[in-house]
Subunit: 93 residues, 4 copies
């Protein structure tokens, strides 16, 4: 089993934690906490979201892309192009 | 008034929307939606968080850093170093 | 043919152009050009490097990963984990 | 003196090294080196460029922005907006 594998329950737990972190930032803003502290919390959420992206992407390569390769024809090419475009959007975000 | 100015209420609105987007992703995972669609939603949240960071950073430069420059002494230097470190963490996240 | 396909000669051309852009920045620093102008040139190079990364990554998925899937066994899994790790490093850089 | 201060000679040295790294990648492509190895070299260059950006940005805040604050009037506001826009472009690149 790969280090990147995320079960649905694992993804759900991570997303619930991220939701809590976003609420935490709203509270920090409300309490006029120091900007730099808030900025670091935003960086922490961005990193947690990146881990979610990598888990989803790994799962996509391992299942959808591998299946398309086995199916043969133009599907593999299409799936690889689509995955590359999604990675491009992640790198830019 | 600068395009980057974010009132506290504006920040609160943006964070509430981001919280809703995170919940939306949890729902998409639950419903087994297509990975690439979910990945694009994660990219959208990352971009929304970046806008929040830029608003906070602008506010920090405009208030804390400007005040430290007026106060003079080593404070301005310290605040500028601290802001640069925070920008470094944002760029890496 | 995919929009991401980069021939070896295309890659060589892009890298030669990036090398020229880096030399251009060195010249701008030498001539004391305005910081913001130099920063924007650095952003332009980073974007050009990202395009190179995406081309290399697409090529890797299309050749090495697809070959490993056809070979079967644990190789596909290993290649997909390795690609995911490389994407993680690109996203963080 | 701040950890982010970069003398002109330091910047020139870093840029010359980056130029050499780009040439190194062109050589790796020419020699058909393994994609993942090349990708990691691209990540290394992106990180080196980020360090250059942070040095330039710190210098900009410490000199141009601080001078504008001392000059007073609308100049400080304009410089801070301009710096925030440049940081936004760096974060997206």
């Amino acid at each position: 089993m790969s280090a990147y594998d995320m079960q649905k329950t694992d993804l759900a737990t991570r997303l619930a934690r991220i939701e809590g972190q976003v609420r935490g930032i709203a509270r920090m803003v409300e309490e006029d906490r120091y900007c730099i502290e808030i900025l670091d919390q935003v960086s922490a959420i961005t990193k947690a979201l990146q881990q979610v992206s990598l888990g989803l992407l790994h799962d996509h390569l391992e299942h959808c892309v591998v299946d398309a390769v086995h199916a043969g024809g133009s599907q593999a090419q299409e799936k690889i192009d689509e995955a590359t475009s999604a990675i491009a959007r992640l790198m830019r975000s």
